[in-house]
Symmetry: C2
Subunit: 206 residues, 2 copies
């Protein structure tokens, strides 16, 4: 698109590099910023720059953090012997929001996916295996996506730690709370029958 | 959403102030930037800041410009006696992309819309009337949205300039090129019959 301003053109080009944002949306966002007070753009630019420059990843669990060891890992009330293995930072937030997990996390940074060119070496798997090897870990909870890539990653890690004295578990897969059976897919429904739990246990967390 | 990093939280809060971008999308964009090389964020932040600080609006037509008078107004090959009245900068780009208009523009900056609290005084109408009053304008082409607000704005301007010696026209409204009649709405179809043009003329621009 031909634009009458190189400044606008450059801003649009930069914004449209973000995932899911095309040229048209980028132009709409840029023109919106031009209509707002100058401070809004200043603050947006500063927040982005500061975030990218100063943010750290927790030395222990690879979660995003402002300090060297994140608030969860340095919290003495959390049970360090239970580690929940997740794909990325958003999963930590999602589980933290439930308020039902008192252990710590290990963020892999993705899952094994040959199609996307992601192999085990690009993920934070070595540090996880090292944690298990050095003792003190009682249970490893696999909380990865319920996809083939997630299952592959789970199994890859499982093979490396199965000889150590550690319990491994996976989050329950079944019918979502609030869902009606008739709309559930048959694989999920079938599994939810196979992996049924004692009725008293099923009341936990409600 | 509880986040483990205040820096991330602030960036997400700023991004989600953009129109059409919620907290979740903002988080996805922020995490994307964290995965990309630091330069990308730097360049995005710089482009936004420079655009907001340095961009100007053309003194004559109110189009976005890097200089005091935009490239269209300062181009001697453009016919200054034909002014196309548009709502905003995007409309200028859209018409320029057709390559079929050789006059100049006048950007109103919106349309009269009492519901959104936009009255004539917030728009660049005075400068347009002044241009017509000072002479040298042969034709004013109204190219506003085909909505009630667009029509109201057209009529408001028309009343102010109708006593001057200037031709006023409105862009043609009818069936889009490539559209099939059976899917056209009846108001458009009806108008396109009322405002039919001589067949030889209908071949122009094809």
């Amino acid at each position: 698109m031909e634009m009458s301003s190189k400044l606008l053109e450059r801003a649009v080009a930069e914004i449209s590099q973000l995932p899911g944002i095309g040229k048209r949306t980028a132009l709409r966002l840029a023109l919106h910023l031009l209509k707002q007070p100058e401070e809004q753009t200043q603050e947006l630019a500063t927040a982005l720059r500061k975030m990218r420059e100063e943010i750290q990843f927790c030395r222990q669990c690879h979660n995003i953090s402002d300090i060297e060891v994140c608030g969860i890992c340095s919290n003495n009330l959390r049970d360090k012997s239970i580690i929940c293995v997740v794909e990325d930072v958003r999963d930590v937030m999602a589980i933290e929001n439930t308020g039902l997990f008192r252990g710590i996390y290990h963020v892999l940074g993705g899952k094994i996916s040959p199609i996307d060119g992601v192999g085990p070496s690009q993920l934070n798997i070595t540090t996880l295996v090292e944690k298990v090897r050095s003792g003190g870990v009682k249970e490893l909870i696999f909380a990865l996506s319920s996809t083939m890539e997630g299952d592959t990653t789970n199994f890859y890690i499982y093979r490396q730690i199965k000889d150590y004295n550690v319990i491994t578990s996976a989050i329950a897969r079944g019918i979502s709370v609030g869902d009606e059976l008739e709309f559930a897919d048959e694989v999920t429904l079938g599994r939810s029958i196979l992996h049924r739990v004692p009725f008293e246990n099923s009341l936990k967390g409600l």
